[in-house]
Assembly symmetry: C3
Homo-oligomer: 334 residues x 3
């Protein structure tokens, strides 16, 4: 047991180094791709790769029948990306901006708010029904499946329109700043690094459980904070790195597409995938987890309020990080 | 019993045909009026006529002492108009727009959001008090009467300012596109069709009860979805028809004025009218109906987020329709 | 006892006269300062002085171990300023505007919304935890202390940036309109009147308790409405006076800075100060006070929706006042 704990901590530290190296590689690959495509296409590509670890983690959890772990992992990723990662990217971007304001196009932030609100509505209404223990609460699975199909439909129509509009955009990174790597090589680097990130995350996450058990950290905190941050380490580093370099639209695209994708693609897709397993995933959060529903509602409002006008100051990024820190503190004590 | 069921289904089908014909007539009348007045005045006129059926249905329900039917009918109309009808109008309008965006003036959508938020606040605070069963919950009627007077005051000041500003607007429909019908004839058509719509709706709604009893559909679903859609069939068709023809401001005016009027005029007026009956209508939703309060809060946020910027894409309309579909699914199982 | 009641009513009336005189004096002082500094600096200065009474009242309540009085007094001030005072200032400003719209810069309203949302999130999440009576609810104090430090950090970064930007602004009051008083004299008047206001408020508030006991008014109504209005009488009068004179940006700055300061400086500072006393103040509202949490959420949304676009009409001010009136009615019956 003692040896296992030590090994877990070693694996944990090795995982952090591995993820950091991969994040740097993905950052380079993203910039190379951004020299050919606009921020929209590059962001979707990058966030799809960045969310692969998440997908694997949740599918493994569902197969093992661990519904609570699966759900808290999805919601944790959502909250970590929308509050912590976005907040840090805004702080970095506003810091480097001459007038202290990070500026970006408003369309993606507003679309992300819309998609997140749709999903949060479905989570809130099913969770309310569950906490009232009414007639509809017995059919949370059926309602979730219908909701999942509807969300995927909205996401499909949105992403088609978003990519179509994005295809006409100027490259996200001006040619003269682009790294020396060729486009195809960059794409290959991105794909390989994305897949490697999935495996490293997975391996890393496996080490978390024994490590936190040794340190006496609660399951809820592990799922909602540690796994969420570890599983999204790559977006985290890439988004902040891009904002720091002044590539504001690309940074926002990477982070916001990640949020939209988790909420409106990954979660509903996993609800449908869970039909193949004996334990099913729904959009309903049990009553003891109502603080998460409150946190989701405020997160949707906060990203709308802060990024909806196309500019953000450092104190707004700080407010997002503070919101996440308070949530993490509450979860720590659960 | 069997014969009655068959008759009810026949009446149901006849009602649908009658409402469709009337909707087409009202659409023609609205365009004729719109060739003289701006979108604001035309929209208020049209939605006042369109809400007549609603008024009759609720007064009849109050007289019969059916408070739950009365309240779910009002809230159902509100949700159906703000989510389903608006969503379909946006899909139709965005579909016909060359660049996929339906554009309209922002003032009415923002004013509608403001009025809806005021009413939803009063509903939420009284409902919270009821579910806590605290001292104030025993005075829900008194608080509702005070709230109703205040809402009517705000609505009165608003509509006066809205119509004054609207009187100066250019006609909603350019002369050369206007139908061959004269203005007075158009106004008469609109008035007659509106009154006929009230009677047909009423007759149609009477047929619903035995029909749904035969089909085994729940009371809640009937009130919140079927009656709400049937009672608003005319706005529904007219709003979508106008959006499809590219008359974006007029379409938004018809749908949004309908939402404002139900929330900030019809509901508070009916609260005051109910003082004449033995059973009183309040703004408080009982605890078992808290999903409706959650749905109202998200509806106010959704129409604000989607229409507040003066443009809407097809996927935003789809998100509103999806929200309504999930709500209808939840209510189906109640 | 009878004599005490009569004295209290006399003290009450004397207090109203004293506060009105002081409000007029502070108004003159604010305009003099506004002839030198921009609206930002003037507003911060004025609202800091205006919130002194609040600070004293709450510290005295904490020392006496009256946690409920302390908390309702802070939340009541917040709601009174954000709904009632802002609403009246908008009505006054829109009334005097030629086109019926009060116009102002959007930055401060949006920053106030952001700060208020952060604080309301922390209040909502801790209150949810308390009403679930879960593991985290036992640590409400620790979570509140961490939250308080984070909020003060965000407020500190914000106010530094706000004052820096405000230092470059043109004077809030054009020279030719400025009163005959010199700048230093104006500053002295403002400081003296502010300190006097603190003492008069305090003396006045002491008279409230016996006066309302005699009149049979509930504790909750006294704390949330009467003390809140009395303790903020100066901002109230000054904000409305400035709006009436067409000094829109200065009026908004005085009222909004007051809201921001109570939410993001006074409340967290008092949470930390309460560590020195035996009874501690937290951000958690007990379950029986959930209507306050609902009211805070809607207040944050209402000021965002109404002032976020930089213009407000009289009916929007009226809606804020109506919201406050309904809340006061609910609290009256608690």
């Amino acid at each position: 047991m003692h040896q296992a704990g030590v090994n877990a901590v070693a694996q944990f530290l090795a995982g952090i180094v591995g993820l950091a190296l991969l994040a740097w590689t993905v950052g380079v690959g993203t910039e190379v791709v951004g020299a050919r495509f606009g921020p929209a296409v590059t962001g979707v590509l990058q966030s799809t790769l960045g969310n692969l670890p998440e997908l694997f983690i949740v599918v493994f959890a569902l197969r093992a029948g661990e519904i609570v772990v699966a759900q808290t992992s999805i919601l944790g990723s959502l909250l970590a990306n929308a509050l912590f990662v976005l907040g840090l990217a805004i702080i970095a971007g506003a810091w480097k901006s001459p007038d202290g304001l990070m500026r970006f196009k408003t369309r993606l932030p507003n679309d992300t708010t819309m998609l997140l609100m749709l999903v949060v509505f479905i989570i809130a209404i099913i969770s309310t029904s569950l906490s009232l223990d009414d007639a509809a609460s017995g059919n949370a699975m059926t309602i979730s499946v219908i909701g999942a199909v509807l969300i995927l439909g909205v996401y499909g129509v949105w992403i088609a329109s978003y990519l179509r509009a994005g295809a006409a955009e100027a490259p996200a990174v001006e040619e003269r700043h682009a790294p020396a790597l060729g486009f195809n090589a960059g794409l290959a680097v991105l794909a390989l690094a994305g897949i490697a990130a999935a495996f490293v995350s997975d391996w890393f996450v496996a080490a978390i459980d024994p490590a936190v058990a040794k340190l006496g950290i609660s399951k809820a905190f592990t799922g909602l904070v540690i796994v969420a941050l570890a599983g999204n380490a790559v977006e985290n580093v890439v988004g902040i790195q891009l904002a720091w370099k002044g590539r504001y639209d690309l940074a926002i695209s990477v982070v916001k597409n990640s949020v939209s994708q988790i909420a409106a693609f990954l979660y509903p897709a996993l609800v449908l995938i869970s039909l193949l397993f004996t334990q099913r995933l729904t959009f309903g959060v049990p009553t003891e987890g109502l603080v998460l529903v409150v946190a989701l509602v405020f997160t949707a409002l906060a990203i709308w309020q802060i990024t909806g006008d196309g500019e953000a100051a450092a104190y707004e990024g700080l407010a997002l990080v503070a919101t996440y820190a308070v949530l993490a503190t509450v979860v720590w004590f659960e």
